[in-house]
Structures are given as C-alpha cells and as structure tokens.
C-alpha cells in the first residue's frame, strides 16, 4: 500500500488525513491541538497518536506534506500605485497565494502608513506599482521608505520591471530580504498574478515556515508546501479542471464559512454570459479568492447580524427576536461555542446563510445599466458566476452544523436581484470530511490520486 499523510497546521487544531494512493481513498483522520506557539511537534505527535488509534498502526508514508494557517497565517501587506489598478492586482496576488491581508496600500506610503505597516508586522510585503515602462517614481519612493523603516520581513517586488532592480537595490542596501518577480500588471489592464503568487509561495517555504517554528517538526514531514488557503484553492482548481485521465467538475465555487471570516474561491473565467453585456474594469483572476473579514460565525457574528438585520436573522431562524439577541450575545462572548439547543442550531444556520449570501454576492460580479444615446447598455463589473456548475461548502459550520442545503443555497442567484451575478443552477456539494486542503497538497505529488480522492469525498447535499 502506497500512502500519503496530509497535515494541516491550523490555528486551533493540527489535522491529519491519511490517504491510500492506489485506491485514492482516505484511510483515516487524526486531530491534535495546535501547538505552534510552544512546540509544533507536540500537536503533531498527538494528532498522529489519534490517527494511529483510528487505523491501528501507522503505515510508512511515501509522502508527508503539510500546509499551515497557524501562528496568524501568512500575514501580508500589499503596496501598489493606483488603488483600482496595480494596488488591486497586488491584493489579488496575495489573496491567491493564501495570505491573510493585514494591509493594502496605494500611492506613495506616508509616514503614518509606514508606522501602520510596522505595527502589522507582516510576514511578507508585496511591493508593486507602475506598468512595465510606466510610473517608476512611486515604487522607488515606496522602496526607499520601506528600506528606512523597521520592517524586517521579506519583500517581494512585482512592479514596473524598469524600476524593479533599483527598488531591490534600495531595499537590499538596508538588509531587507528581497525577491524580484514579474510585474502584477505588465501592461495596462493586464493581470499577471501567477509569478507573484509563486514567488510568495517560495518565500513562504524558504523562510516563513522556519520563522514560525513549524520546521521544528521537520523530521516528521517532508515539506510545508503552502498556506492552508492556498492548498484549498489548489484543491478547488484540480477538482474543477480535472487531469488528462479524468475530467473535473468544470467552473466551480468553494465557500468556507469560518469563525472569523468567510472565504470564497472561484475557478472560472467569469466572462459575461448574457449577450450585449460589456465587461468593465480590471480583468478578473481565473483563480480568485476573496476573504470577507467582517463575516465570521463567532468573532464577527455581530457584524453579520448588523448587515442582515436581527429581525431577518431571527425570522429566518424561526426564533423569537429577543431570544435571537440573547444567542447572538452568547456566541459573540464565547467564540469556541457549539450550538447547545435547537434555537442555537437554527440561529447558527440563519447566520451562516446570511454570511454565505453576503460573501458570494461580494465575490460575484454585478451588472449596472448605463444610459447612452443609443439606448441602455449593461456593464458587468467582476466575475459572472451564473454559469458556475458546482458550489462546494467547506468549514466547520457547514460540515457539522447540518442544514447544509439551506446554507449553501444562499449562494444561488436571487430572481429578485438579477444584477448580482451569482450561480444559477449549480450542484451543491459538501466537503464534509474536510479533505479539500489534503486534495490540494496531494495534487503537488500525484494529481490523479488527488482528483479521484477529492471527487469521492465531495458529497451531494440533499434538501433538508
């Protein structure tokens, strides 16, 4: 039996999935605490013990691959020139690399901005600005300011290629570690985020894993390949595209409702599906990840309720308004809490529905009507997700909370709001065994096994 061990060093738990590569099926799962802040080996040892107890003896794993969102995840700050252009492209690159964005800056950095960047203490800074042959002044000014700052983290330079060497020289002269890669926007309106994503991933493997102390357990695994959100995105990409041997699910969306944020990943071009619609704005990344920092089931439950309205959430949950207010207070004050009675379960479900609705609405593009002399014209900003064929739910609330159909269907297009380009008639699947990250990691060594294994664990969601 050829086997692989896929490890997720999470912020709360260390999770394991053991996979039989020949059968492309899961052998077992294990879980331990997250111990990155003390000694990462403790949590991993505990998780391996748990796995062993489930499957009776650990096999000699051929691959032992890990991803990590522990110790605050991959904290990044991005810097670009125009907010909607290179600054947005830099943001997209960082999010696609699985980063947790703690700051996104545009134009020249001010003294206040530098103080803010220093306070964020990011793991990596992505410095962009200017198209190739375009503006060089601002990226050089920003490099000079970062060089003078107390920031010590690696800096990935992905801006105007004519200025990149000089920007790197300024930073290196102040002993900042620098990687130069291709411009995130080489031509005006052309998005080129892949090289920056790859550079960020390399810096993550080479430096961040060590800086966070994850390599203390180095002899217990082969490599920490990427941040966990990047593994999920890689898994989503594989499930969508398939391999030479086996076709995938086509254009798809993954929704991860967490305690602090709701992440949405899309794998599709998102071009206009309706005739006569004109796409407007920056082209969208084919692999797009958005993180809604104000939509989380616990840390940000109050923000979800504020956006949706307590009355609406209470009505959706079918609990009295007063009781809904009490539950909100309880879960906000106790972020580890799992629902303890029927009311709390229903409240959580309503909360998750509101989070999914808002997160997918924001991730999806929208149509607006522009009146011209030749009549009204529909302009599309963002991705048209209406032709997305599959929506996959992942994350604790969806996997354990029940009512996944009700929650995931909040991702669907609403006939009353045709301007929101949400998926129309996708299949709804649930990653109930939490294997998407493992699928993404496995794709790095065995795409066919990863695909078969991933597809086998995406379970259709029936109507409740």
């Amino acid at each position: 039996m050829t086997t692989a061990l896929l490890i997720d060093f999470g912020s709360t738990f260390t999770k394991l999935r053991a996979v039989d590569l020949e059968k492309a099926s899961i052998i077992g799962a294990g879980q331990g605490p997250s111990t990155v802040t003390t000694d990462v080996t403790e949590g991993l040892t505990a998780a391996l013990g748990d796995l062993e107890a489930h499957i009776g003896g650990l096999p000699d794993f051929k691959h032992r691959l890990a991803c990590s969102s522990a110790a605050g995840g991959l904290k990044m700050v991005t810097v670009g020139l125009v907010r909607e252009l290179t600054a947005e492209a830099a943001r997209q690159a960082a999010l696609g690399a699985g980063a947790k964005l703690t700051g996104a800056f545009s134009y020249g950095l001010t003294a206040g901005d530098i103080v803010e960047v220093e306070a964020h203490a990011p793991d990596i800074i992505l410095l962009a600005g200017g198209t190739d042959g375009g503006n060089a002044d601002v990226i050089l000014e920003n490099a000079a300011k970062l060089a003078k700052s107390a920031v010590a983290c690696p800096i990935v330079v992905a801006g105007n290629r004519e200025a990149a060497d000089e920007a790197a020289r300024l930073l290196r002269s102040a002993d900042k570690p620098v990687t130069i890669t291709e411009n995130v926007m080489p031509e005006f309106g052309e998005l080129n985020v892949e090289p920056a994503r790859a550079a960020i991933r390399d810096v993550f493997i080479d430096r961040i894993v060590h800086a966070k102390g994850i390599d203390r357990a180095a002899e217990m695994f082969d490599a920490v390949l990427m941040p966990t959100p990047a593994a999920v995105l890689d898994g989503a990409k594989l499930l969508s595209e398939g391999t030479k041997e086996k076709s995938g699910l086509g254009p798809l969306l993954v929704i991860d409702v967490g305690g602090a944020t709701t992440d949405v990943h899309s794998v599709c071009l998102g071009e206009p599906t309706m005739e006569g619609v004109i796409a407007h704005g920056l082209p969208e990344p084919y692999l797009k990840r958005t993180v809604e920092g104000d939509l989380g089931m616990r840390h940000n439950a109050a923000a979800i309720v504020e956006a949706a309205g307590l009355e609406a959430v209470a009505e959706e949950a079918g609990v009295p308004l007063e009781r809904a207010g009490e539950i909100l207070e309880t879960v906000t004050g106790d972020v580890e809490r799992l629902p303890e009675d029927e009311d709390e379960t229903r409240f959580d479900r309503a909360l998750a529905r509101a989070a999914v609705d808002a997160a997918v609405t924001r991730h999806a593009g929208s149509l607006s009507i522009v009146q011209t002399v030749s009549g009204p014209v529909s302009m599309q900003t963002g991705k048209d997700l209406s032709a997305v064929e599959t929506v996959i739910g992942t994350g604790g609330v969806l996997a354990h909370g029940g009512g996944a159909h009700a929650v995931l269907s909040a991702a669907l297009a609403d006939a009353a709001q045709p301007q929101n380009l949400k998926p129309k008639t996708p299949k709804l699947l649930l990653d109930s065994d939490y294997v998407l990250y493992a699928c993404g990691l496995l794709a790095a060594v065995d795409v066919d096994a990863a695909l078969t294994f991933g597809l086998a664990h995406m379970h259709p969601v029936d109507e409740d």
């Binding site: 020139l81 125009v82 909607e84 252009l85 290179t86 200017g130 198209t131 042959g133 375009g134 503006n135 060089a136 002044d137 926007m185 031509e187 005006f188 309106g189 004109i278 407007h280 522009v370 009146q371 011209t372 002399v373 030749s374 014209v377 302009m379």
Partner: protein
C-alpha cells in the same frame, strides 16, 4: 517597426486613448489608436464608456505623456468638466490633453468650440473627420516643443 522613423522619440511616448462618458461610439477611437500605434507611439486604449477618472488613473499607472479623449455624442463638455483640474490633482499637471470628435450638438462655429475646450484645459481640440496623420503631426510638433522648452 511602424512608420515612426521621422520621430525616433515616439517609442518613448505613452498615450492613453478612450471614449469618454456614456458614449459607445468606438470606431473612430479605435482607428485613431491603431494609427498612433502604427506611428510608433505606445498606446493604452481604454475603449468606449470610459469615465473621466479612469483616463487619469490609467495615465498615472502607465506614466503617460498624453491623454487623447474621444467624444462623439455631443455631451463632451459635460463629461470633460474639470478634466484638467483632476489631472493637476493627480500630479499630472504637465500631461498633454487632446480631445476630438463631435464635440458639440448641432452646427456651431469651430473656433468658438475650440476655445471652449481650451478653457476646459485641453491643449488641442479636433473636429470630426480629422485625419489621423494630422493628429500624429501635431503630436510630434507639441512634444518637440516640450523637449525644447
């Protein structure tokens, strides 16, 4: 290669083109953009339905030397109000601004129309059916004057 042999500096000049406002008339602007590229300029073509601020944002990012605004539907004066001021605000005080097309509704005295657009901060205004060679010649002239001056 292009036909820009006469002016070797064209390759170093970036021009932003587009049709301003809620105006879908793209053909003339596309012909102009192609002619400018053919002449050897670096062209950033924004296309139809381009709001004023997007011309300016594109010019910042690409460090453009000039913005060539097209307006074909008679609303140009409304769309271009404060255009030069916005450029100044964005640090583009020295950028060359051209506008061309059907710049007003109905038949009006061209000298008056041109004066109005110069008041809006455009360095040059061109009536409909201006030949692209003429635009290229004027661009060469204006950029040569800048280099000297």
């Amino acid at each position: 290669m292009g036909t820009g042999g006469q002016n070797s500096n064209r390759a170093e000049i970036t021009l932003v083109t587009g049709v301003i406002g809620a105006d879908t008339h793209i053909v003339g602007n596309r012909i102009l953009s192609m002619a400018l590229e053919e002449a050897g300029f670096k062209v950033v073509a924004l296309g139809a339905l381009t709001p004023a601020d997007e011309f300016i944002k594109a010019a910042i990012e690409t460090a453009a030397d000039g913005i060539m605004v097209s307006s074909l539907y008679g609303q140009g004066e409304l769309d271009c109000r404060g255009f030069r001021d916005m450029c100044v605000e964005a640090g583009l005080q020295d950028i060359l601004l051209y506008i061309g097309g059907n710049l007003v509704v109905g038949k009006q005295d061209w000298a008056e129309v041109e004066a109005r657009y110069r008041d809006l901060g455009f360095d040059r205004a061109f009536p409909n059916a201006t030949r692209t060679e003429d635009v290229v010649a004027v661009l060469d002239e204006d950029f040569a004057a800048r280099r000297q001056g």
